[in-house]
Each structure stands twice: as C-alpha cells, then as structure tokens.
C-alpha cells in the first residue's frame, strides 16, 4: 500500500525542524527558504500548520508541465521533478492550486516535495508526531484532497 504524509496541526509546535530537515536533505544546507514543507503560524489562535504537497491525484503540476519533467514515482506515488528535464518555465508553480511547487532561483529549476524517495526527512525529524508517514488510506490529507477534487475549474473527471 502507498504511504503518504499525515499532518496533524494540533501536534505542531512550530519548531521548524521539518523545514531544516527538508532543506538539509535536499540542499545540504539549513535553510527554511529552500524547504519543500513550510509551517504557517496563526499566532492569535495558537495554531501552527505544516503544509506541503499532498501528491494530489489531480497532479495539476504534472499535467501543466510542457516538457514532461514531472512524473509519478511508482514506488511512492510522489510527483517528482526531473532536474534534467525541467526547463524552469514555472508554469507548474502557477498551476498548483496549493502553492507547493516553487521556483529555485539558484538552480533555475522548480522544487517540490518528493517524499524523499519514501523516507521523508521531515517526518523523521519531527519531535511531536505532527508529521508522520503512514498508509495513504487514512491520512488527514483527505480533506485537502477533497478540496483539490472539488475545484470549480478544469476537468472534473479523470481518465
């Protein structure tokens, strides 16, 4: 069974260790600006929400890519950017309705969560269990996925 990231904002303390783990895993630098996962703080609610790509079934980024540079990793189900193929046109960055595909000025390519090939560094680093990597069927992403599926523009059914 495919696994996916399960995010439980109620457990998040906004320590940003996930962002450090992510940037380190992908860029060998501690740099939240390069992280594929981002914690959003809602101070007056005392609420902290880690947010990243849901690997949504719609795969807006993948279908928008003009050069087939985003593909599905069969082992993890992640939508993965090929640095060799990406030309840096950024169309995926405006196509993803979650805002979780981003342009990296240093490389001229886009970056997004690729589930670290099946061992997500953010989940391993999270001290509270707010980010876990679990069987896909019962993740809290269901809510976001439903949201993705219900958008009013674009195709409503899938081949």
């Amino acid at each position: 069974m495919l696994k996916s990231l399960h995010i439980d904002p109620d457990k998040c303390t906004s320590c940003l260790l996930c962002e450090l783990a992510c940037s380190f895993e992908n860029e060998e630098v501690f740099n939240p600006a390069k992280s594929r996962i981002k914690v959003f703080t809602f101070h007056d609610q005392g609420r902290y929400v880690p947010y990243t790509c849901t690997q949504c079934a719609e795969a807006w980024c993948m279908s928008a890519c003009p050069v087939d540079a985003i593909s599905v990793d069969r082992a993890t189900g992640a939508k993965v950017v090929s640095d060799d193929l990406c030309v840096g046109c950024k169309v995926c960055t405006i196509a993803c309705p979650f805002g979780t595909v981003n342009y990296n000025h240093d490389t001229g390519k886009v970056i997004k969560c690729d589930l670290c090939g099946g061992e997500p560094a953010c989940a391993a680093m999270c001290p509270t269990g707010a980010i876990t990597y679990v069987d896909a069927d019962w993740t809290g992403y269901d809510k976001m996925r439903r949201w993705a599926g219900k958008t009013d523009a674009g195709p409503q059914a899938h081949a």
Partner: protein
C-alpha cells in the same frame, strides 16, 4: 562554517551599514553569542560608559549553532552595558529572529551611536538599510511587527523591537522578538530606545552550512535520542517552566511578598494545576497549548487565552486571542512575590510585559518593593497616582502594568526598578536586587548555591548564569557550593555562547553539546575546550565590570537574605551564608580576596 564569518556594523549617528569580517581568531576563543559579543563590546566600549549614552554599543549576536538543526539551536543575545545594572549585560532570547539573522548571512550586528530620529533596520540577506521609524514610535511590539511586515509586504520578516517601555526608558525594558520572546534582562531595551532604534526586521534566505554535514546529523540524532525521551524534557513540554511553582514552594524557596516569606499560601491559585483546569466562567482552561522556538524539540513555551470575564480585559478585545502564556519567572514575580493569587491577573500582566517589552521578573519584583513601601507607609496614595498597593492586590498589579508600560503616573517610578525606587523613597533595604537587578524566583536562604550565583552573577541577580538546582534541592547547607556554582557558571557561559538553549543542557552534558558543535564548526571542540571558553568569558565579563567601577562590595545579597532567617520550609531558620561561600569562590576562580583576577589567572586564560 557554522559561523557565517560576517558582521554588520550599523552606525546610527551617521546612518550607515557596513559589512566586515568576523574575527575568526576571537571566534575560536569566545565561540559566539554571549562570549564573542562580550569580547567585541569589551574591545570597543569603555567600561565606564554611561549605558544610555551614544558611546555605549549594543550587539545582536548569534552563536555558531544558531540556525542549525541542533535541538534548541535558535538562540541569540543582546550584549551591551546594561541600563539597569551598569554592568555588562548579555540578554538571551529564543524565537525565530536569531536564526533568521544567521540565515541572512550575519553572525552579529553591532549598533553604535544614536540615530537623530527614530529608525529601524531592515535586512534582506546582504542588503541592510536604516529606515525612518517615526510612524512606529509610540507603538507596541504587537503593533510594530505586523506594521513592518505590511510596509515591506513580507509576511516572513522576523522582527526584534522595543515597545513603549524601551522608548520611555523603563530601566528593565526588553528587546522583544516574535511577539512574546524576549532578550529580557538588565535593561537592554532601554539601551535600544536610547539609540532611537525601534526595531530590526530581517529576512534571510542564504542558510547555514556545517563543517561535516553527515557527522553533524548523526550527532544531532544521537543528542535528540537522549533529550527527547527524558522525563525532564517531557515535564518542560507538558508543564513548561511553571512546573517549578510547586517545587519551589515545597522547597521553601518561593520568594513571597518581597522575600519576607519563602512559601506562598496562595500557590494553589497560580500553579500548573490552575493553569490547566477548566474555568467555571467560560468552560476553558487558561493554557491552550505549547510552542517551540526555532529548532526546539522541547517546546516549553506556553500559549494561553485569558478568561474573557476577568476584570483586567473588560472592553479590551485585543487580549482575548491566544498569546504567550505565563512562564515560571513571570508567574512567581507577579504572583507570590507581589502576593497576588489570581492567575488571570498574572496572565494579563504578562501580556502587557510582552506587548510593551518589559522584563516581568524586574517589573514584578519592583511592584513587590512598591507594595512593601506602601504597607510600611513610606509611600501613600499621593505618590502612587491614588492607587492602593497592598500585597496581594490584583487590581494594583494590573494598574501598575498598564501605567508602567505607558510610562504614566506612578508607572514612571515603577519603571526605575526596585533599587532606584527604594532609594528614592528612603528604604534601599526593600530592594531585592543584586547589582541593581531584581531577584528571580528562588530565595537564596533555602538555595545557598543560587544565592552565591545571584551574588556573583556578572549581570546582577540571575538564575540563568549557573545551574545549582539539583545540588541545592539535594543539600541546603552552604558547603561545596562555591565549587558547584563556579563549575556551572563556566559551563553555562559556554552554552550561552554556542547558540543553543540552557534548557537542553538540563539533559545534555557538555560532551553531548561539544560533539554537535565540533561537527558543525572548525576548532576541534571538546567539553574541555568549551569549559575553557566559558571560564574565559566569565572572567572577561568580570574584568569589564571591575573596570566599570564594580567591586567586591557588589557581590552581595540584600540584607534580608543575609540577616532575616527563612520563616518556614526545609530551610526554616537559615540565612544565606554568603560570607562562607564567597572567599572560597574567589579562590577557586583564581581571584584575590577582593575578587580581582590575578595576573596568573588572566595569563592562564589568555586574557
């Protein structure tokens, strides 16, 4: 690596920002943050400088581990000559600001001079500029942070600022960051205000690199595997520092009613149990959650929502959202020290301290001194803006918090701090201070080691310059305390220079920290080398203070602790035995009987 190797020098008088290389030779000897900041201060500022004059400098300093994934690796310090203490000050803060500064490529900012008009510093990676802050002057920390983000259209800006307390010269004003984190002690916010510097806003996208990435992540994982499952960590996460309230009371070391007592009869109304209990008024608890600072796997920070029916917040909706909640030191100072047994009033006073940037320890202890002045008749309603100030008055606490934050009426007197307030009204003995800085939440009579730590702390009375808790709770007698205190002062000085939080080292040994530090940066770091750095930093601070005019006579405690015995608890009948401990301490430090480091000591430490 791990250091960025770069300092930003900001001349506020001239309005210039210039980059310069970090002195890497000093970095090897003073590490960073507290130590390296103190070295720069000692080199560049006359110890005799008036803290509030343009000749004083103020340094924002990160450590080599700031901005890395070491658990708690987000600390930063404000180093200057303290307004409150006239001694060297190093005020340590968490939150996200310090890591962001490091991410922008800077180890430190050195502020010098005084801006002719209010300004703030805006940093985006390499680019730094001073901008007019007239529109921010007179506004609170809670207003300034969103206002600067709006001005630059950047929600990611991290901001350190002063509130109205720092502007109006409250002697214990803080530099606040991230809404409720504080470089709290010694009046560093008053120094910032004296320079007409309202805020520093920073966005950093360059990141922090370490010497041995693989080895570093292994060391971090090993240290996390020790820290995270420990009962100490769990208690901090669950109860925060508030767990100390009941412990201190049980041990008879809870400063109560301006240290006239050491146990508080109202403790049950201001402890963890009350904070987590569902309120009858609104069916919710004061505590709604916890939060971490940058890279922290402990997350001791409290998040609270005040009781909307409490008298303090009527007609004030801005206080009804979630905010930084009570930590032990704030709660002790507003609660037992002032005799107030009203958790919601304490919470409100804490909000005001965060909102306008005041040190809650100093504020609460100064309120306690004012209450004693009032109860003994040294002041009356004539001086207090008509307020009645009996011990235990939640109304008085709330009113004084508002007046002091705004710099109005009797609040101006409270803003002087306990020492100056009590001198003004003829009773210096009511000031529970060392070197002008107010007591934290431990009574020296039942914690002899803490008493020695207060007396010898280079920044005045402080519980964060040594870690004598476990020894003090195990032994109430003064023997061997000098040894314990000296050793832990050196360790803490090294920890405070590294970029991590003191609290992680309640579990980690210095070896645990050294293995992470060594993988992060050049220098062959071991616990031994760190101790040596710590002792060097301590002695440098001491030397600065001696040159500033402080003497052995300043290494003391209020008479009340030395002469009036504890009235209850395990240490009932005891006084602080400073006279026994201090000579032993000087000897261990390699100082003369007058507390001056000998030439041999200075040479040994290469000072």
């Amino acid at each position: 690596m791990s250091w960025q190797g770069k300092i930003l020098r900001v001349d506020l008088t001239k309005g210039t920002c210039t980059a310069e290389p970090l002195n890497m030779e000093w970095a090897q000897r003073y590490l960073g943050q507290r130590g390296l900041g103190s070295k720069y201060l000692a080199e560049e500022v006359s110890p005799k400088v008036d803290p509030l004059s343009p000749d004083n400098k103020m340094i924002f300093a990160t450590g080599p581990l700031t901005g890395t994934a070491v658990s708690t690796g987000g600390r930063w310090s404000v180093v200057t000559k303290g307004a409150l203490t006239n001694a060297i000050a190093d005020s340590n803060s968490g939150g996200y600001f310090g890591a962001e500064l490091k991410m922008a490529g800077w180890d430190m900012i050195i502020f010098e001079g005084k801006a002719p008009r209010p300004v703030y510093l805006h940093i985006e990676d390499d680019r730094a500029e001073l901008l007019a802050a007239d529109y921010l002057w007179g506004r609170t920390v809670w207003e300034v942070e969103p206002a600067i983000r709006e001005k630059h259209g950047d929600p990611m800006l991290k901001i350190a600022s002063i509130g109205r307390a720092g502007e109006s010269g409250v002697m214990y004003a803080c530099v606040m960051n991230d809404m409720d984190r504080a470089a709290g002690r010694s009046g560093v916010g008053a120094v910032m205000g004296s320079k007409n510097l309202k805020a520093v806003a920073v966005r950093g996208t360059q990141g922090v690199r370490v010497r041995d990435p693989k080895g570093f992540m292994q060391a971090v994982a090993t240290a996390r595997a020790k820290l995270d499952p420990s009962p100490v960590r769990k208690s901090f996460t669950r109860h925060g520092t508030m767990a100390m309230m009941d412990t201190a009371n049980r041990h008879g070391t809870l400063p109560t009613r301006n240290c006239r007592e050491v146990q508080f009869d109202g403790v049950d109304k201001v402890n963890v149990a009350t904070m987590t209990r569902v309120r009858l008024s609104d069916g919710k608890a004061n505590l709604i959650g916890n939060k971490g600072c940058f890279a922290c796997s402990i997350a001791c920070g409290r998040v609270s929502k005040i009781d909307p029916s409490h008298f303090s917040v009527q007609g004030k909706p801005k206080y009804l959202g979630a905010q930084g909640g009570l930590e032990y030191e704030a709660a002790f100072a507003f609660g037992p020290m002032a005799g107030v047994a009203d958790l919601e009033a304490l919470t409100y006073a804490n909000y005001l301290c965060n909102e306008d940037g005041m040190d809650p320890i100093s504020f609460g202890t100064t309120v306690a001194a004012a209450m004693e002045l009032y109860e003994t008749g040294a002041i009356t309603g004539k001086e207090t803006s008509g307020l009645a100030l009996p011990f235990g008055s939640a109304e008085a606490l709330v009113a004084l918090a508002e007046l002091t934050a705004r710099g109005e009426g009797f609040g101006k007197d409270i803003g002087l701090g306990a020492k100056r307030l009590c001198e003004k009204y003829g009773h210096p003995e009511f000031a529970m201070v060392v070197k002008g800085q107010e007591f934290p939440g431990y009574d020296p009579r039942s914690m002899q080691g803490m008493g020695l730590a207060y007396a010898t702390s280079n920044r005045g009375a402080c519980h964060m310059r040594a870690k004598p808790w476990s020894d003090d709770f195990a032994r109430i007698t003064p023997d061997n305390k000098a040894n314990v205190v000296k050793a832990s002062q050196d360790e803490v000085a090294a920890i405070d220079s590294s970029g991590i939080c003191f609290f992680a080292t309640n579990v980690w040994t210095l070896d645990d920290l050294a293995s992470q530090l060594d993988a992060a940066c050049e220098g062959g770091w071991t616990a031994e080398k760190m101790r040596e750095v710590g002792e060097r930093v301590w002695t440098l601070e001491r030397t600065f203070n001696l040159k500033a005019g402080l003497t052995k006579a300043d290494d003391t405690l209020p008479e009340r602790c030395l002469k009036d015995a504890a009235k209850s608890g395990p240490a009932k009948g005891m006084v602080a035995e400073l006279g026994k401990m201090l000579p032993e301490y000087y000897t261990l430090r390699g100082w003369t009987a007058d507390g001056v480091p000998t030439n041999e000591t200075l040479q040994r430490l290469a000072l």
